[in-house]
């Protein structure tokens, strides 16, 4: 659509600007403020320059949390994206069963995040949970509060359970937009099922898949509530992801300086990924027109 230049449109965006500035810029400036100051309590602050940033960059704590975070995001992407595409390919095309699947698949997406945690906390318990009980009965030694591997598997399966449907729904939307003529052409050429997927479905899904990948990466990168409810970051620090560590530091220990420096570096990473996301979106919009 052709847009006209109109500077008065600023008046229409002004309320958003004011509101988001109040809820984003002011708090962020507080963080910037803390990140360059030190305190002895009683609200007495003095300039600390970049000390906190240097300290954080040198501390193993942040790098460990970042490592765990990247591992977590990497694993869930590696599972959810292929699984989501696979589910989308198997979804009914239209009619009652399509609606039926859509409704049931959306259900986990709409559950409050701490309830998701609670569901899996219960589900995995050896004494009262179906999963834990079954595994125990099969002779598997499974205890997600004590064992690192079990804790990791639990939070990964939980995330797959929670979010794979989103990938599937997006891929499904991409699949539905493919014109039938493409399939007819493939049929005439006697293309195999794999070739149809590789040369028709996958390229046509690429745009929405990029959105799915970026959304899942962003959201898993700042995940807090679900693993916190299930494992509390434990055993030890085994499942302490970035957000969990940050909240521990800021609200638990009240280490304002380091936490603020941590926050800003965290935010810069997010900013970078947002930029990639934005570019993808804009390109997609251009193609759509």
């Amino acid at each position: 659509m052709e847009k006209t230049v109109n500077q008065k449109a600023w008046f229409l965006v002004l309320p958003v600007l004011v509101l988001v500035a109040f809820s984003a810029v002011i708090p962020l400036m507080t963080v910037v403020n803390y990140s360059v100051q030190d305190t002895f309590g009683q609200n007495q602050f003095f300039w600390a320059g970049l000390e906190w940033f240097e300290e954080m960059l040198r501390s193993d704590r942040m790098w460990d949390a970042l490592g765990r975070q990247l591992m977590f995001s990497g694993i869930i992407l590696a599972i959810e994206i292929p699984l989501g595409i696979f589910v989308a390919l198997n979804m009914p095309k239209s009619g009652f069963w399509a609606s039926f699947c859509l409704v049931l698949m959306s259900l986990p997406l709409l559950i409050p995040w701490n309830v998701v945690g609670t569901i899996w906390q219960i589900f995995g318990r050896v004494d009262i949970g179906l999963l834990g009980y079954t595994l125990d009965a099969l002779g598997v030694n499974y205890n997600y509060t004590q064992d690192t591997i079990a804790a990791w598997i639990t939070i990964i399966v939980m995330d797959v359970w929670h979010w794979t449907s989103l990938v599937a729904l997006l891929a499904y939307a991409g699949l539905k937009s493919i014109p039938d003529a493409y399939y007819q052409a493939a049929k005439i050429d006697q293309a195999s099922r794999w070739k149809v997927f590789r040369y028709i479905e996958l390229p046509k899904m690429m745009g929405v898949l990029m959105i799915a990948i970026l959304l899942r990466f962003m959201d898993s990168f700042m995940i807090y509530t679900e693993p916190f409810v299930v494992t509390g970051g434990g055993p030890g620090n085994a499942t302490t992801l970035l957000s969990i560590d940050l909240v521990k530091m800021a609200l638990g220990q009240f280490d304002l300086g380091p936490a603020a420096a941590f926050s800003l570096m965290y935010f810069l990473v997010i900013l970078l990924i947002s930029w990639v996301f934005y570019t993808v979106m804009v390109n997609l919009d251009k193609k759509g027109m």
Binding site: N6, M91, P92, I111, I270, Y278
Partner: protein
């Protein structure tokens, strides 16, 4: 849109147009064999944990802890009764609902004109602003928890519903702007121009003509604002202590002296799923679009 068969000149159309039209229906995207089984297994995987929660919420604590039963032997609604009669419990739902509704109303009210501006006009800094909004949707709540706590404490809004509603605007306003912009770009600009020629003022046009046209978009945006505010816990828990405490935070307090009250915890969990489950059917075709910020 125009029905070619009833048009006088339609007979001169090549016959194969309609023929290919019917052939199209025979083959849409082909589904692999055994797809029903795959879907069945996937849905089973999704529903089992939810079923387990429901199952527990209908049992007594004795049954939960002492017997392992796949369905409740002594069906009881006592857990739900506990929640619905104790103000400490049900006020959590009321608090959550109050700030969620406030947040949805604020988000939509400011996002509607802004989304219109983004979808119709170029103006100085529009792209930067649009991008900046996106970064706020992506901002980790953990980064904002402490500054929000201090900001709202210092202005005397701590532990009020409006504090949480405003805090959730951080990600819901950008979300609403992006979703609404996605819907608005689908409305032809000629409609705006015609309305202005007909003498409508901007306000009258926007409310009387434009908003009904994107009614489904407004519905979807409202749904997603509601949902994201409803599921968020970190900020709402940080900003409240007693008066505005959300149900999600109250749930974590089921640990008593005698251990956790599993039945009540499960019942509370089930009740938080209800609002989403009630409207899910109406938004089923828009879920992907909403999560993808109006694109797809």
């Amino acid at each position: 849109m125009t029905d070619t068969t009833s048009a006088p000149g339609a007979t001169s159309l090549p016959g194969d147009v309609t023929a290919s039209g019917s052939a199209v229906k025979t083959r849409k995207f082909p589904r692999p064999k055994g797809s029903a089984i795959v879907m069945g297994l996937y849905l089973l995987f999704l529903l089992l944990p939810i079923y387990w929660l429901l199952n527990m919420s209908l049992k007594t604590n004795t049954e939960i802890l002492n017997e392992f039963t796949l369905w409740p032997r002594n069906l009881t609604l006592a857990n739900y009764a506990t929640i619905l009669t104790d103000p400490a419990w049900y006020m959590g739902y009321v608090n959550s609902l109050i700030y969620v509704v406030m947040n949805t109303a604020i988000s939509l009210a400011v996002a509607l004109p802004a989304a219109y501006a983004f979808s119709r006009y170029h103006f100085m800094g529009d792209k930067h602003l649009f991008f900046w909004l996106l970064t706020n949707r992506m901002a980790p709540p953990a980064v904002f928890a402490l500054p929000f706590f201090q900001l709202y404490s210092s202005v005397g809004l701590f532990d009020t519903h409006i504090a949480v509603a405003l805090a959730h605007c951080l990600f819901n306003v950008p979300l609403a702007v992006w979703i609404l912009e996605g819907f608005m770009r689908g409305v032809p600009k000629e409609i705006d121009e015609t309305a202005y020629i007909d003498g409508y003022s901007f306000g009258a046009f926007f409310v009387k003509i434009f908003m009904p046209l994107i009614a489904s978009g407004i519905g979807v945006a409202a749904f997603f604002c509601f949902m994201f505010s409803w599921v968020e816990l970190l900020l709402s828990r940080t900003l409240t202590t007693v008066d505005a405490k959300p149900i999600a935070a109250i749930m974590t307090r089921t640990q008593g002296a005698s251990g956790i009250d599993w039945g009540v915890l499960a019942a509370a969990g089930i009740l938080t799923i209800v609002p989403g489950a009630l409207v899910i059917y109406f938004v089923r075709n828009y879920i992907a679009k909403g999560f993808a910020l109006g694109r797809v």
